[in-house]
């Protein structure tokens, strides 16, 4: 994810002046990451809107991007986060529900992965990620799926690096637990066939 982006400032300036080619370059390089982040955080129905609003914000407030403070990719993900937080009025409710979702990973120590096909694994993991509470889902999306480093993720999430580490640890434990539960379900379903 940490690709070299030496021309980002120049491209942003050019896009701000109305250079469609410069904007298209920025958009094509970064829209995928923003889209996938939005997809995981708020679903397919709103992901396109999040992408659009994020890049509109870049066009309308281009001077806020400072390459010295982080990559353009991280900056755009930060905007996307603000955009989707506005949409996620349910975030507060989910944080209350968070405690109910936390399951001790030690409860189900077995692995789910060896017995599942690749497609089943992908679908199971994707589903498990979707059921994570937002703050854990977010850290998995940023650090695991987008492969940002902890510092970049912390900047986007506006929290200390230590919080990113602890959330990721908790998120992985939750994922393992959920996937172990999924494995039990699959095995049960196979037995019933």
């Amino acid at each position: 994810m940490n690709e070299v982006e030496p021309d980002d400032r120049r491209l942003v300036d050019a896009a701000r002046r109305g250079d469609a080619d410069a904007f298209a370059g920025i958009y094509r390089a970064h829209q995928g990451a923003v889209y996938r982040y939005a997809l995981h955080m708020c679903g397919a129905s709103a992901a396109d809107d999040i992408v659009q609003d994020t890049f509109l914000a870049l066009l309308r407030q281009p001077n806020r991007f400072d390459p010295a403070r982080g990559t353009l990719s991280a900056y755009l993900l930060g905007i996307a986060r603000h955009v989707l937080l506005k949409r996620l009025a349910i975030a507060r409710n989910e944080s209350a529900r968070d405690q109910d979702d936390v399951v001790d990973a030690a409860v189900e120590p077995a692995s789910a992965f060896d017995e599942l096909s690749r497609a089943e694994t992908i679908e199971s993991v994707r589903s498990a990620i979707q059921t994570l509470p937002p703050q854990y889902r977010e850290v998995v999306v940023l650090c695991e799926l987008q492969e940002l480093d902890y510092a970049e993720a912390a900047a986007i999430m506006e929290c200390p690096v230590g919080t990113v580490r602890s959330r990721l640890h908790r998120a992985r434990a939750l994922l393992a637990s959920k996937l172990a539960g999924a494995r039990s379900g699959v095995r049960y379903a196979r037995l019933r066939r």
Binding site: Q52, S111, V140
Partner: protein
């Protein structure tokens, strides 16, 4: 399976999801909308630059006209009656609009009537109304407030209240 293997397996599974999702992108319509927005920004920028250029050009034209009048007035000792007057009852005038040196204080000044290019109206956002009045004319009348130092402080645009009055105005020597 020990803890290390479980961690590795989870990591592999997440990597598989990431690889599978790498192909996911926003709808093409989003890019089309955004490119349209960029083009509208470019168009608005061009309009602003054009207006700014016209405004600067108008300032220079007015300043040049005032300088010419100022030089003539100094040579003759005093401004002529025809060139120093306020809008009369038969005329409609805009409010005075500040020019470049509007911030420079003056102790006395004169209102000088000049003909300036019609483009000057556009730079003050007045062209649509005025152009209905005399679209064929290349110039419009303007009253320029000139300080005792010869620098123009403000301008207002003048036209006859009706066309016949304007024609009379234009026929004055």
């Amino acid at each position: 399976m020990d803890e290390s293997n479980r961690v590795d397996a989870l990591t592999r599974a997440i990597r598989a999801v990431a690889a599978d999702e790498a192909r996911l992108t926003a709808s093409p319509i989003v890019e089309q909308r955004l490119i349209a927005e960029v083009r509208s920004i470019a168009a608005a920028r061009r309009r602003r630059m054009r207006a700014l250029s016209m405004a600067i050009a108008s300032m220079f034209l007015i300043a040049a006209a005032v300088s010419g009048w100022w030089a003539r007035a100094r040579r003759s000792g005093a401004p002529t009656d025809a060139s120093s007057r306020a809008a009369s009852a038969g005329e409609v005038a805009t409010t005075f609009l500040p020019l470049t040196y509007s911030g420079v204080p003056i102790t006395s000044g004169q209102i000088v009537r000049l003909e300036v290019p019609r483009a000057a109206l556009a730079s003050f956002g007045l062209a649509p109304v005025e152009s209905l009045d005399a679209p064929s004319s290349g110039t419009v009348l303007a009253d320029v407030l000139v300080g005792e130092d010869g620098l123009a402080r403000a301008v207002r645009f003048v036209r006859a209240a009706d066309r016949s009055a304007q024609q009379q105005q234009e026929q004055k020597p």
